[in-house]
Amino acid sequence: MMSCKKATYLLSQRMDRKLSAGETLSLKFHLMMCHGCTNFSNNMTFLRKACERVVNDTQ
């Protein structure tokens, strides 16, 4: 079973590279059972949206 520490690293990496099928599956199972990491995933999505807003506004 994947640890939360590993899951957060993969959730971050997912923003920079395509995860392997195995990584994606392991992460999916972990997120089904872990509220903390699910929230972390949503937090990361918001962080990217905030950065996109910064870029659009400054341009």
């Binding site: 903390g36 929230n39 937090n43 918001f46 400054t58």
Partner: protein, 204 residues
């Protein structure tokens, strides 16, 4: 402050580079973008000046571009990347230190699961925060709290839009180091926003 570039054909209203009012607006947008990346007014003025000079110097070639503004911004981004690369090489950042994740060990238990008190919380509908001026002040504080090397890599990824492999190439670091630095930046920003904005909001 460097001298202002005057548009070569001020009466032509079709191009931002040939119309004084449009050029002034473009320059303001470029400067704001450069300031965000470089956090240094003088340096930002310099790269904007260079980008505009390069664009105007290209003469009629830019007429064939779909969007002059987008094109000038791409010139500016390349100038900013040049500055980052020079700074990175001059400052000799300690990549090992930048990749040190031990700061975040306290968030996890021995089995690498979240400490109960540190478990990420739901931020509800966080997009409402994007319309709040105070949120952006906190966001700025959190960005400024990042160590310089970490902030630089994160900025290149999220604000300049470079892919991880491009950042590695520009800064001469390994892909795995780049991923770790980006992860560290996101962990720091998430924690900072959680503590300074989302949790604060609950107690207001």
């Amino acid at each position: 402050m460097p001298p202002t570039i005057s548009a070569p054909f001020p009466n032509d209203a079709d191009s931002p580079l040939r119309n004084e009012a449009m050029l002034a607006q473009l320059r303001r947008d470029l400067l704001r973008f450069a300031m965000l990346q470089l956090r240094n007014r003088e340096l930002a003025e310099d790269v904007v000046q260079e980008a505009l000079a390069a664009a105007i110097g290209a003469g009629d070639r830019f007429e064939q571009r779909a969007s002059v503004k987008t094109w000038v911004f791409s010139i500016l981004k390349n100038k900013i990347i040049d500055v980052f690369r020079d700074r990175w090489n001059k400052n000799r950042f300690d990549v090992v230190e930048a990749c040190d994740e031990s700061d975040f060990d306290v968030l996890f238990m021995g089995n690498e699961r979240w400490q109960r008190s540190e478990m990420p919380a739901s931020w509800g509908d966080p997009e409402q925060s994007l319309e709040n001026v105070e949120f952006w002040q906190i966001f700025d504080i959190c960005m400024n709290n990042l160590p310089e090397a970490t902030a630089r890599v994160f900025t290149m990824r999220e604000f300049l839009g470079l892919e991880a492999h491009e950042i590695c190439k520009e800064l001469g670091i390994s892909t795995s180091n780049c991923w770790v630095i980006l992860h560290r930046a996101r962990m720091s920003l998430r924690l900072c926003l959680q503590q300074r904005w989302f949790e604060e909001g609950e107690t207001k």
